[in-house]
Symmetry: none
Subunit: 231 residues, 2 copies
């Protein structure tokens, strides 16, 4: 089940979008403005953001810029003014598509689906949001091949291990609580104990150390895990 963060200051529009997306079997989180959106994004796991451009507090473009500092999560812009400038800026700034108001909910859902289909790993693990290929320092990840390399050496991870590392790799600076890792790497609604997460982390570390990488994931005592800073 895909998790969509919808950001718009108009409650009515939020309602419409939310309804349409939920009918299309997606899990929706709502935010009123850019600040709330950023907050929510950093506290949970999100596959795609529907982001209105014109908002009080922090507008969509600025919000996008902030998000893009740590994440390549797909963003679908909403623009109420019909002028071209906003659209172009929106795309230039790192959005994946845009819809101009007024829009039909059906169109919005269609576009969301197109983007998700493009970016999600191909049905292999529904719920991992991912670019097809990710490179970070000496690390390289390919969703399509479901494989990950340290330098030239492939690291043989299991499906769950791969999902976790992919998630962490997508926001290299973020510290992930065990709860968020769970949300992101597991099917919707599945719960395991925190110790289980630890266990997987250990296995990932072990496998990486076997190919000569002694530090892949760092522990943030009392908080969670993050990608080792040297990566």
């Amino acid at each position: 089940m895909n998790k969509i963060l919808v950001v718009d200051d108009d409650p009515h529009i939020r309602e419409v979008i939310s309804f349409a997306l939920e009918k299309a079997n997606m899990k929706v989180t709502l935010a009123n403005d850019g600040k709330q959106a950023l907050d929510s994004f950093n506290k949970s796991s999100v596959d795609l953001i529907v982001l209105d451009i014109n908002m009080p507090e922090m507008d969509g473009l600025e919000c996008c810029r902030e998000i893009r500092k740590n994440s390549e999560v797909p963003i679908l812009f909403l623009s109420s003014r019909d002028d071209e400038i906003d659209r172009i800026l929106g795309l230039e700034i790192g959005g994946d598509d845009y819809v101009t108001k007024p829009f039909s909910p059906r169109e919005l859902v269609a576009r969301v689906n197109v983007i998700l289909k493009r970016t999600l790993s191909n049905g292999i693990n529904n719920g991992i949001n991912s670019e097809l290929k990710l490179t970070h320092g000496r690390l390289q990840l390919d969703t399509e091949q479901h494989a990950i390399w340290w330098d030239e050496k492939e690291v043989p991870l299991t499906a769950t291990e791969f999902a976790m590392l992919a998630q962490i790799l997508k926001q290299p600076k973020r510290v992930f609580s065990r709860e968020v890792i769970m949300e992101g790497a597991y099917q919707f609604n599945i719960h395991v104990s925190d110790r289980t997460i630890d266990s997987h982390i250990r296995h990932i570390r072990q496998k990486f150390s076997e190919v000569g990488c002694e530090s892949i994931i760092e522990t943030q005592h009392g908080v969670g895990y993050k990608l080792a800073s040297c990566q």
Copy 2:
């Protein structure tokens, strides 16, 4: 001289397009519907297809899906309804561009030329449908003959087995989930159990082992299948 297959149920439109393309020095073949188009495509060599979306029998989208199972031939969609959905779906499904009716013949020819220039100059697709034959290591596949060889020995696969292996062979490094294999190797909208996929994979392996190939498809536990890496 480039060979264009034009598919539309409206005789008048076929006429207009045909006239325009021939004036632009292309060889045109015509088809009334998706079924005829598939047939014609499989019997001749085509550089590009102009494909109407709304047709009786088999519509453009489904026709495209079928064609995409064996070929990457460029497709230019024609859409009479001006709504966004069709466009998006059309592109999602593996089309190269679209034109909405009513269109000027000149615009259509221009777009055809752009696509041809792009695909021909890649050298990948020398005007001939290059997907017909595939070679990968000791493996050789011929879509036209519907046959596959290991070294010099032909491996007698059934239609379904052939479709699956062809799909896998087209992206040798990719790991295919059973769901994706299903989408790719079966008619649109047909569902079978995951165990059925396994069963076919087993038969493929068996038949290959009978001609001396002990490793043709690898299992990715919890994910799916991929071409064996030694190929």
